[in-house]
């Protein structure tokens, strides 16, 4: 009981919150609608005002109670009394009949609310509820009250009672079945997704057709009323309740009107037979329309839910694979003075899969770089995870022995043990930025492009089959020297393979476009733009560009995350710049240590809360090296105390050290006269 009370408290009567003025207006409108509906019903009587096969007011009353609240009952009661007074023997009998006519829809609405009826009529249980509870069961009340009153007032004999009762009951029930769904579907036109114009055209065509077919069938001597049913099926199938309810109402009204006139299939029949034919037809119309409409609505919802779930799954898998892939690619490339590096990874967009493409740049402790680019065949999560394993394996093997043949041989042994569904191609280069020397080996990957002296060359040497194809491969090694200004372009097949374009054409275009005289980042963008064209990429693209740049006379600029593990990379870069600038050994060491201390201070003090960047600039002019180390943080301790030994060393090693701290960060400027010109 508690639960029911709560449920009722939680879902108040829709009419209870209406303002008094509106409430009165609603009552008047309901009463007027009921009265007009009754006049329509009376005009459809089979014999004078006695036998009414379709009593629309019951449908109007049920709808009013469902939509506006059961407190609309006074409107219904007053209208029912007004309708019954002129056609009933005594006022008392009219009042009794009106009470039954009010109580029946009231109980119908109550029962429907209790079973959780949805007025959208979009579930089979709603169709069942309105047929059995809303129409057949509840209308027992009005039929019994009405015919009992007739019998008591002497209007009918006790022998006529069963027939009168049956007519009354079916008439009221049909009133609910034909009218209530139609009225209930009206709010759906602004509640549900609006129809496009084509849908409206179809709806109008359907209603015209159902009118025409039922008008013809109901006037034809042939027994062809059933022809209306396929049209109703169409309406329910295509438009659900918003099409089925109006069509069913039209069909029922036309058939009932025809039965009233005794025309068509109803001409030769007795009253009882006419009644049976008509009610049978009307029942079929209602049940067919609403059950089919509910069934289709349910199926559409299920299909929508399934489609949404499937789309979501595909989207999620793609998102996971892409996140994984991006997390497996280097978050930044090492900064090596004299070497420009740029890389791109573009996931395929033509389908939602991702591939196993990757690139990597590995800094070796001795300053050399391991460059890899590879492609695990296949798509999706498995390819992406295999790629991640391979990438880490390359890193491990390179740190162990960076020689190209050793790395590829190690990988081949590993690949036979990985759960890799397919093969993988891999190109590995060992690059020494100090000398420009490049040693490489290639397991089935597309040849890298060397751009030097205005010419493109594909490096097709040292090529063996992809990993995972055969075992016991003898790996080959080739070498070359990258001269200052020369560029290497490493790429995966997504860059050069296009639909309707041969691979050779793609490679030729790459060879031509790679000649462009632009920076490495611009070259990456240019290649992606010109080679992939406007259509979305069908396959992933990984791209890595390396260029040797002459250092002599150029200032050095570095920016690295201010973390202790990056100090070594920074020192190496400064060391190389100092050496290439021809600074003598002793000077070089002193400057290097001072730089190390300035950067270590930024690491230690600049970013106590959030991580940040340290920047270093070095230039040489008039035999003086000037170093600027900058951070954008706020030091925990004042600069003069935070420096400690670091500051002491910097002052000891350099000719001048200047520290400036502002809100924007701290800048250390150090000068040192050096002996330049010697080649270290």
């Amino acid at each position: 009981m508690m639960g029911q009370a709560l449920v009722r408290a939680g879902s108040p009567d829709p009419g209870s919150r209406r303002r008094p003025g509106h409430q009165v207006l609603a009552l008047v409108l309901v009463a007027a609608a009921y009265y007009l509906g009754a006049q329509l019903g009376l005009s459809l009587s089979l014999v004078d005002h006695n036998v009414t096969p379709l009593w629309p007011p019951t449908g109007i009353a049920v709808t009013a109670f469902l939509l506006l609240g059961r407190n609309m009952w006074p409107g219904v009661a007053v209208a029912a009394l007004a309708v019954n007074l002129p056609i009933t023997a005594t006022p008392l009998a009219a009042a009794a009949t009106a009470a039954g006519n009010t109580l029946a829809p009231y109980v119908a609405a109550l029962l429907l609310e209790r079973v959780g009826f949805r007025r959208q009529l979009d579930r089979q249980r709603d169709a069942l509820a309105i047929v059995f509870l809303g129409a057949l069961a509840s209308m027992l009340i009005s039929a019994t009250t009405g015919t009992a009153t007739l019998a008591v007032s002497g209007a009918i004999s006790s022998g006529e009672l069963p027939g009168a009762w049956a007519v009354w009951w079916t008439g009221d029930a049909m009133g609910v079945l034909a009218v209530a769904p139609f009225l209930l579907c009206l709010p759906l036109f602004w509640e549900l997704e609006p129809w496009p114009t084509a849908r409206w055209v179809e709806a109008v065509a359907l209603l015209v057709l159902v009118t025409a077919v039922s008008a013809w069938a109901a006037r034809s001597e042939a027994q062809v009323l059933f022809l209306v049913l396929p049209v109703l099926g169409w309406a329910a199938w295509r438009l659900q309740l918003r099409g089925a309810a109006p069509a069913a109402l039209i069909a029922s009204l036309v058939a009932t009107s025809s039965a009233t006139n005794g025309s068509g299939p109803f001409a030769a029949e007795s009253l009882a037979q006419r009644m049976l034919t008509l009610q049978g037809f009307n029942a079929c119309v209602a049940v067919t329309s609403f059950f089919l409409a509910a069934l289709v609505s349910e199926r559409l919802r299920t299909a929508d839910a399934l489609a949404a779930a499937a789309t979501e799954r595909v989207r999620r898998e793609h998102q996971i694979a892409e996140t994984l892939q991006r997390s497996l690619l280097p978050d930044r490339l090492p900064q090596v003075p004299g070497v420009d590096l740029a890389a791109r990874y573009v996931p395929a967009t033509a389908d939602v899969e991702v591939g196993g493409d990757w690139y990597d740049v590995i800094s070796l402790p001795d300053g050399r770089l391991g460059l890899t680019i590879g492609d695990v065949a296949g798509h999706g999560l498995l390819a992406a995870t295999s790629m991640g394993q391979l990438r880490m394996a390359v890193r491990a093997y390179v740190l162990q022995d960076p020689a190209p043949q050793a790395v590829l041989a190690g990988l081949e042994r590993l690949v036979t043990q990985l759960p890799m569904p397919e093969m993988a191609t891999l190109l590995y280069l060992l690059f020494d930025p100090d000398t420009g020397s490049v040693r490489y080996a290639n397991a089935g990957h597309l040849p890298p492009v060397l751009v030097a002296d205005g010419q493109s060359t594909f490096l097709t040497d040292a090529l063996v089959p992809p990993l995972g194809v055969t075992t016991g491969t003898t790996f080959l090694e080739a070498s070359l020297t990258l001269q200052p200004g020369a560029t290497l372009v490493l790429y995966t097949d997504g860059l050069v393979e296009r639909r309707r374009v041969s691979l050779q054409d793609g490679l030729d275009r790459l060879g031509r476009e790679a000649l462009a005289d632009v920076g490495v980042d611009a070259l990456c963008d240019l290649l992606l733009h010109t080679l992939s064209g406007p259509e979305p990429a069908a396959d992933d693209i990984a791209l890595l560009v390396v260029r040797m740049i002459p250092l002599t006379g150029t200032p050095l600029a570095l920016a690295l995350p201010a973390e202790a593990r990056n100090l070594q990379e920074m020192r190496r870069a400064v060391h190389r710049w100092l050496r290439d600038s021809g600074i003598a050994d002793d000077d070089r060491n002193d400057v290097l240590i001072a730089c190390g201390e300035a950067c270590a201070n930024a690491v230690r003090h600049a970013y106590p809360v959030r991580p940040g960047v340290m920047e270093l600039e070095a230039r040489l002019s008039q035999e003086t090296v000037s170093i600027t180390v900058r951070d954008h943080g706020r030091w925990r301790t004042p600069v003069h105390r935070g420096g400690g030994w670091g500051l002491q060393l910097m002052r000891g090693l350099m000719d001048s050290v200047e520290l400036v701290t502002t809100d924007a960060g701290t800048e250390v400027t150090m000068l040192r006269r050096v002996t330049a010109g010697g080649i270290g």
């Binding site: 740190l399 100090l567 070594q568 002193d590 060393l649």
Partner: protein, 111 residues
């Protein structure tokens, strides 16, 4: 241990010698100290840390060496360093006055 430096220990004429090869900076100073301490026996009165193959030491490395000397001093052990004359790190040791606190030798034999 760390990528930046390796630590290995030998005993030379009864004296434990720890050789540090590579570079010592803020990123690995604490690890290097732990690695050195772990290899040293507690019964020797003199211990030698050989920095001949150490190419770089920053202020964090210097602080580490001071702490190591202090820690060994508690156990009545004397720390000696080997840093060749003219080695790049020698200047750092001198500028931080480390040479006045910890005996520094040119070669291993000189210890």
């Amino acid at each position: 241990m760390t990528e930046l430096a390796t630590v290995d220990a030998v005993t030379l004429d009864g004296t434990p010698v720890v050789r540090v090869s590579g570079e010592i900076d803020l990123s690995n100073a604490a690890d290097v100290m732990e690695a050195i301490a772990a290899t040293l026996p507690t019964n020797a009165t003199t211990v030698v840390v050989d920095l001949s193959d150490t190419g770089y030491v920053d202020s964090a490395g210097i602080a580490m060496l001071f702490r190591l000397a202090e820690r060994l001093g508690h156990g009545r052990q004397q720390l000696h360093l080997v840093v060749p004359t003219g080695a790049p790190i020698r200047r750092v040791l001198e500028l931080t006055n480390l040479t006045s606190v910890i005996p520094v030798h040119d070669t291993l034999r000189a210890t």
